[in-house]
């Protein structure tokens, strides 16, 4: 039956061409069939997903509002292959609610046997199932998985390790900080937004001290990264830390990151060394800082920065001047007019226009 593949000549090139054509055609047909099968499966899956989610969303919603055990809704029957969909929907809902609603959702999850199911999924190869499993076990505060999650902190896969960190904090936040913090310091692959959320969940009172200690002893790159998390820490300790860093550290990147870490209610640090720094972005950050927490007495420093050789320093200085408390539009216009330097006066005009001061 394969005679059609016998080429009309014995030339090897023609034989190869014939086989190439046949193999490529056959593979294309297989791909065509597979694509159609895939399409069919996707359509079925989507429909089923929609049905399951519609049915169960009502059940979960009734669970959240049920004030007594007797009010809890009856649980509909579901197929085994629908359980993963349920789990994902349950996780989504759990993230969206708070307080007692979470406890009620956890009660339903136990009745549905989610913990055992998640444990089984945790050992699977498929990453998205493992992630959903860790998330579920964390949401259910399954202490039995504690050691497993500690081990997962070292996993090279970013999503797995950070989801495990989050689960640990959910299970026991005070104990978890001890294990999670060293990884927050070491793992530069962990997404900052998630780390922030984990630290916030752990709580400022537990996080502040280890975070400050880590920043003080870290190299420049790590210190810069960790300084971004200071928003979740206690502000008085952060102010002290920043003051210390601005005094002791020399790396421009650390100095700028430290200035950014200061909250708007902080006491202004001594900025003279910073507004005259050799590196332009340190001067720029100092100007920006004065724009946030500066006082009218800082005006001469900022006015000097209006003549800086770097556009960004002039820009931030002008913005800071406009933002200084107590400076009326007329005073700003007068300040702009008295600038001898056209670069400084142009920049003042721009900053005033941005602030809506004609």
């Amino acid at each position: 039956m394969w005679e059609f593949l016998s080429p009309p000549t014995s030339d090897l090139a023609v034989v190869i061409a014939a086989w190439t054509a046949a193999t490529a055609t056959f593979t294309s047909l297989v791909l065509f069939g597979a694509t159609l099968a895939l399409r069919f499966a996707t359509v079925q899956r989507t429909r089923r997903r929609r049905r399951v989610i519609e049915r169960w969303r009502e059940v979960f919603a009734a669970t959240i509002v049920a004030s007594a055990e007797a009010d809890l809704p009856a649980l509909p029957r579901y197929r085994d292959d629908e359980r993963m969909l349920l789990l994902e929907e349950w996780n989504r809902l759990h993230e969206a609610v708070d307080g007692i609603a979470r406890d009620r959702l956890a009660r339903v999850a136990r009745r549905l046997g989610f913990a055992d199911f998640a444990r089984r999924k945790l050992r699977r190869r498929w990453l998205s199932e493992r992630l959903a499993a860790i998330q579920t076990l964390g949401n259910l505060r399954e202490i039995a998985e504690w050691e497993n999650f500690i081990e997962l902190l070292d996993h090279p896969n970013t999503a797995l390790s950070i989801t495990a960190a989050k689960a640990l904090v959910q299970i026991d936040r005070s104990d978890a900080v001890r294990f999670v913090m060293p990884h927050v310091v070491a793992r530069d692959d962990w997404p900052q937004a998630t780390v922030m959320r984990i630290l916030r969940e752990a709580g400022a009172e537990l996080v502040t001290r280890p975070l400050c200690n880590a920043i003080l002893t870290a190299d420049a790159d790590t210190a810069v990264r960790l300084l971004k998390y200071t928003g979740v820490a206690q502000s008085d300790m952060i102010d002290q830390l920043v003051e210390l860093l601005l005094r002791e550290r020399k790396e421009p990147a650390v100095l700028t990151a430290a200035m950014r870490a200061l909250g708007s209610g902080s006491t202004p640090p001594r900025t003279a060394r910073l507004t005259e720094h050799d590196v332009w972005y340190v001067r720029m950050e100092a100007a920006k800082l004065l724009g946030r927490i500066g006082q009218p007495r800082d005006l001469p420093v900022l006015e000097a920065l209006l003549g800086d050789r770097e556009w960004w320093v002039r820009y931030r200085a002008a913005q800071a001047i406009v933002a200084l408390p107590g400076l009326e539009p007329a005073a700003l216009r007068a300040l702009a007019r008295r600038q001898q330097d056209s670069f400084a006066s142009d920049m003042m005009q721009q900053a005033m226009a941005e602030a809506g001061i004609a």
Binding site: T20, T25, L31, L36, L38, E95, T194, D346, A353
Partner: protein, 486 residues
């Protein structure tokens, strides 16, 4: 050497070429499948968890516009509705000879803005800068026509305030969440300097208020074929090069770049025909020469939709231009070729593009001509000639089929089963005429580059006299005598 010998040798050359290029593409296909699978495995989780907060990375969007009076208002309105917490929109009116600027002024309540504009990347003079009273994140730069999109974009980059710059064509339709998706590689890896995303064909789709409302296939045959071509080019062409950091092109329709690197290398090359590719190749060269770690990445998400030409004339012009641009980009950065420190770019991507993409049309067109000619003249048997053609066509169908399959595995954007069937049909039909025609046009583009003829696109009437209506606005370029200040 007899004609028979010549044909015998030619058979081998053509066969090896076809097998070589298709093996190259199939390897990319494999890499792309692995890459997309890995990407999708975590994408949903990251999305649900809000893993990549974008609060810390504001983006400047640069939109060059030349005589786009008809569409500029709807384009800008759509861009102002993107889902992203902090971004600014910088529209550049590149000396339009129609009422593009007037429409913008009226449509967005623009007022002259006294910006201290700095000319870090040279461009044609800026005549004025406007800001919107209604949209604080919108500014319009009115400049003299510089004769190229690159010149307009460069002026826009100079006015950008944020560390990431997205360059968007005025006629591109973005997904509302496109910025969130393309910014992800910058957050994952701080050495990322450029990111591109999948561009899809907008013909046949329903666009409402500047966004795609319903995905569909075009009824025009040429546009339909380009849907399959774009699937091939983006889903595995680019996705295949990205994991090995050898991506040589980020589409001009939509790309995001780190501003500091853009300014460092002097922005887009206004003299380049394919300024988008030339920029990326130059970025590779610059970073490799300086031995700095970097990544140029591609996200497979469909983030941008663009209009495909529906006439032979328009399509020909585009393909000739692309080929010309490819030759120019590789030539201008030829030091990358087999460079000791060039890594995968120098040893894999550039040679592949040079042999198969740039000079490929020569062998492809010759292959067709020689085989058909030899079959007709009886130098090889007609069935043998047909077998060679069949092999070329079957490999073409295979590549398109695998791209359609990959689309179904990943994003399955085309909702109806008949769309998928139609795409498969096109995957076969395009091999009879369309593919040969584009090979001819690419050959023409190659000749145009080799013989140094400028492309018609460069001489489109974009340098007509400028309107005086905006002359009263203060010219804010930097005075030359004080160039030490930046």
């Amino acid at each position: 050497m007899t004609m028979q010998d010549f044909i015998g040798h030619a058979q081998w050359v053509f066969l090896l070429y076809f097998i070589g290029i298709n093996l190259g593409y199939l390897s990319q296909n494999l890499l792309a499948t692995i890459g997309i699978r890995r990407y999708l495995q975590t994408a949903d989780h990251h999305e649900a968890e809000g893993v990549f907060s974008v609060l810390d990375v504001p983006i400047s969007i640069v939109v060059p516009a030349f005589n786009e009076s008809v569409s500029i208002i709807s384009s800008v309105k759509a861009l102002l509705q993107l889902q992203y917490p902090l971004y600014e929109l910088v529209v550049i009116n590149d000396g339009s000879t129609d009422d593009t600027l007037a429409k913008l002024i009226e449509g967005f309540a623009l007022r002259p803005f006294p910006e201290a504009y700095r000319d870090r990347i040279p461009s044609s003079p800026v005549r004025g800068i406007y800001s919107s009273e209604r949209h604080p994140n919108l500014r319009v730069i009115d400049k003299e026509n510089g004769g190229s999109k690159a010149d307009a974009v460069n002026a826009g980059i100079n006015a950008c305030r944020y560390p990431l710059v997205a360059v968007v064509d005025g006629d591109s339709v973005l997904q509302p969440d496109s910025l969130r998706r393309v910014v992800r590689p910058f957050l994952e890896d701080p050495t990322t300097i450029a990111v591109g995303g999948t561009v899809r064909i907008a013909n046949g789709c329903t666009v409402r208020r500047g966004f795609i409302e319903k995905v569909g296939l075009p009824s025009n045959f040429l546009a339909l074929v380009q849907v399959v071509e774009y699937l091939r080019a983006f889903l595995f062409g680019r996705m295949g090069w990205s994991p090995i950091n050898a991506l040589l092109i980020v589409s001009g329709a939509f790309g995001v770049f780190r501003k500091e690197v853009l300014t460092e290398i002097g922005g887009f090359n206004p003299r380049a025909v394919g300024e988008d590719m030339e920029l990326i190749v130059r970025m590779h060269r610059h970073m490799r020469e300086q031995r700095r770690p970097y990544r140029i990445t591609f996200v497979p998400d469909p983030v941008c939709w663009t209009d495909a030409p529906e006439t032979l004339k328009g399509l020909k012009s585009q393909r000739v231009r692309w080929q010309h641009g490819l030759g120019q980009s590789l030539f201008l950065n030829r030091s990358l070729m087999f460079n000791r420190h060039g890594g995968t770019v120098s040893w894999l991507a550039v040679p592949f593009y040079l042999i198969f993409e740039l000079f490929g049309p020569i062998l492809e067109v010759m292959g067709y001509l020689v085989m058909i000619g030899a079959g007709i003249m009886g130098w090889i048997s007609a069935p043998a000639a047909l077998l060679f053609l069949a092999a070329a066509i079957a490999l073409g169908v295979l590549l398109s089929s695998s791209a359609i399959m990959l689309e179904e595995l990943s994003f399955h954007l085309y909702p109806r089963t008949r769309d998928v069937l139609l795409l498969f049909l096109i995957a076969v039909v395009e091999n009879f005429g369309y593919r040969q025609l584009t090979a001819l046009w690419r050959l023409q583009g190659l000749a145009r580059w080799l013989f140094g003829r400028s492309h018609k696109w460069e001489s489109i009437a974009r340098t007509e006299s400028l309107s005086d209506a905006t002359r009263s606005v203060r010219v804010l370029t930097m005075p030359p005598e004080d160039a030490s200040r930046r």
